[in-house]
Symmetry: C2
Subunit: 172 residues, 2 copies
């Protein structure tokens, strides 16, 4: 199965000039959905992952599936103000202005072997923020997986993520 | 395992007087997380579920896990403006004002047997909106599962959901 064919491209969403990668067509196809989950589980099943960290909100979908299949726990990294208890916060730059993501301060610990998952690696801004959250929690080891990589986008933060040799299933 | 003990209660979040049910403490605990997934999968494994519908955004976590374990597809119901292609939209009332949720118009079809999942059943507003989206798509059968039910909240929409005999794991 060619996964790229299962991903729909939507021109000019969310704004003019962006060719949005819509994974909902992949998600609703049970064969494609489960092929993605199987591929990620197969890559990480022997690495003793204790927690899967999913990035809000599309990273929650495969993140939850992978956590269940790896018999791991799940930790959400959310946009500012969504988590109810004490959080660690990381700020990252957007095209205009800044944004931040948060994780509960008690979500990860020094014993954890963590797989950070998101559907899309674009500028690497949120993935790098999640990496810093995991570092501040003092986790033992961090791995990454992404469904798609927009390889035509380059940044120094993305270079840092690439040093972790992330699993990537579809490249643009 | 007593699942209710794994759910943290946060007083006065997101506003004064609300005792927020924080499931992140359950999610990060691999035994508790997988007990919830196993319980839902066990209930629905013989009902030929073709697609799991998860409600943004906490419903994506268990929704993705359940879809994978049932070998089904996954369909997100999202807040307004998040989905990139043509959508069906349903409006529901909030305490002050209205809000709406959306689903891609091509997400479900007449052959589908659907499990709608969210972590929390409170007023039933979003679950009822999701039910209407599934009805408008003409699905064959609809089931519901929720991790928690706030039984002290009553509404006519919630009564409609209860007619479907939803699976509920933790009651308040």
């Amino acid at each position: 199965m060619n996964l790229k064919k299962e991903i729909r491209e939507i021109p000019d969403f969310p704004k003019k000039g962006i060719n949005f990668k819509d994974i909902t067509t992949l998600l609703k196809n049970r064969e494609a959905f489960n092929l993605v989950v199987d591929s990620i589980v197969s890559e990480f099943k022997d690495r003793n992952i204790s927690k899967v960290v999913g990035l809000e909100s599309r990273g929650f979908i495969f993140g939850g599936a992978i956590a269940s299949r790896l018999n791991a726990g799940f930790v959400p990294v959310r946009k500012k103000g969504k988590l109810p208890a004490q959080v660690l916060s990381e700020t990252y730059e957007l095209e205009y202005g800044i944004d931040s993501v948060e994780m509960h301060v008690d979500a990860l610990n020094k014993e954890d072997v963590v797989l950070i998952h998101d559907d899309l690696l674009a500028t690497g801004g949120t993935a790098f923020a999640a990496l810093n959250l995991a570092k501040r929690a003092g986790v033992k080891t961090t791995y990454f997986s992404f469904v798609c990589d927009l390889e035509f986008i380059h940044s120094s933060k993305k270079d840092e993520i690439k040093k972790f040799n992330p699993q990537i299933l579809v490249r643009y």
